[in-house]
Symmetry: C2
Subunit: 300 residues, 2 copies
């Protein structure tokens, strides 16, 4: 049995070539390229393209491996009869690392400290810091677990929230009791009908003055207009790796408001990403060669 | 027995007043103010003044409590017959927190990501990240220990270096073997004759391309001219909370070079600092009232 695997660039092909046998035909092919003859067994999507690029691939591919963790909106674009796997294990740790980066930078004065660097100003106010702060983690999936590992040594007080309460984790229905005691809120939940717009005017009104809102999951979990209003008034600060819309348009207030720290959806984008993607793709190839189905299927 | 304790501002006086008895006369007084009549038993220095301000206080004070950890240069300024205590336990944790802040920010693309925010540019290259990186911690005192606690959850490979080898710690004489394998070097050692200029041209030449030099102890541990040369060429990056000289003069290349992240000696400067300073001062007061000597004496 021979299978065909399409990868998005020559670099990945080069890395995988030495790890597969003659029973795997590796080709470089991306959605939008002219169709290949015959059916491709596994298509590895480029990292940063939209799921909409998958429309029209019905009959051309059997399985699709995304290089992203989130798959909101994918259901409408994956053709009938094609499965989609998300990239479990690839982005959780770097995304949690980005959450810690955003928290520490904000709590120690960025973006203002960075602006002082650029204006060559030696200015030394006292910034809040993380020690002793009460951190509310909303979401205890892969990103949330990696986040909890990382914040453990910082002397902060971590409270966990999930859809339903369990052991040491509160249910999301308890937010009205929890938000007034949160110095920092970290959003690490998938985007779906339940979470869209979770951080709205009412949510923000319940936070204490000066609280920090950190989003590393998906932009639409936050009502952008409500957040802008609360940041502008100084009621809260924000540190966002994801926004709504993306890319954030020029002139949007989140670029420039004091207390608004931004990174352009870099959560999983670190140079070590390949060291986690390649083993996942090789595992999927192995499953297919043994006549099985890929793992981590999220659309079927 | 009654003692007189001079504190640098009314805020500290207010915080301490409710915690001491009638046997403590609390006054607000700072070096440079007109002399008080009689001898002050304990002088709490302002946080950010130089030890040189202590010259000439001979006969006016018995003990001095610094609010800093470092005391390089204090020996020349503390009058004969006066003891100086440093602020053990106050700054180690926030300084380690700043080291983590600088590492994470640098590894995830700041100051460039901050400059992109200010120019409203949505740019998404792959930055190095911290996962899997080899971190060489030079100094395993209070700051180093707090740093090790904090980096533990990040999936980095930590190697410890101290003046002399012990258990899991290498001796500083092993640096030639260690530097070529260090993606990140963290300086957490006191400034003294042995450590001044430790990070010189030779040290920097031994680092791998693109390594990050992090300094949270004292500026003169790094030969600034050598560092500037290596950052300018792109051979290394730097993330400095302390520099030589301080304040860094306008126009200095470390303000603006790509790969140079700066904070203006903010290591211990967090809003929770009082929650660690006040108990230390109260403990010193208690020791004096019981006829003892202050703890943490570094100049005697």
């Amino acid at each position: 049995m021979t299978i065909r695997v399409a990868v998005p660039d020559a670099a990945m092909l080069g890395r995988l070539a030495s790890a597969v046998g003659d029973d795997v035909e590796l080709v470089v092919w991306r959605p939008g390229d002219p169709p290949l003859s015959g059916v491709t067994d596994l298509l590895v999507m480029p990292y940063t393209v939209s799921y909409e690029s998958l429309r029209g691939l019905g009959g051309q591919v059997r399985h699709i491996q995304s290089q992203s963790l989130g798959y909101d909106g994918a259901g409408e674009s994956v053709p009938t009869g094609v499965t989609l796997s998300n990239a479990v294990g690839v982005h959780e740790a770097p995304t949690a690392e980005m959450a810690m980066t955003l928290i520490l930078a904000s709590q120690r004065g960025w973006p203002e400290v960075g602006r002082n660097q650029d204006s060559q100003k030696w200015d030394r106010p006292m910034w809040p810091g993380l020690i002793g702060r009460r951190v509310l983690l909303i979401g205890v999936g892969g990103i949330g677990q990696e986040f909890a590992l990382r914040i453990a040594g910082f002397g902060a007080k971590l409270t966990r929230v999930a859809r339903t309460a369990r052991d040491d984790t509160h249910g999301i229905d308890e937010l009205p009791d929890l938000l007034p005691d949160a110095d920092i809120v970290v959003l690490a939940i998938p985007l779906n009908d339940e979470t869209r717009g979770l951080v709205d005017d009412s949510f923000l009104n319940q936070l204490p003055a000066g609280a920090l809102v950190v989003n590393v999951s998906r932009g639409p979990i936050v009502d952008t207009a409500a957040l802008v209003s609360h940041v502008r008034s100084g009621a809260v600060r924000s540190a966002l790796d994801v926004v709504d819309p993306e890319p954030l348009p020029a002139g949007h207030p989140l670029w420039s408001l004091p207390g608004s720290l931004l990174s352009p959806h870099l959560g999983g984008a670190v140079q070590s990403m390949n060291t986690r993607v390649d083993p996942l793709v090789l595992e999927q190839i192995d499953l297919l060669l043994r006549g099985g189905r890929p793992k981590n299927i999220v659309i079927d």
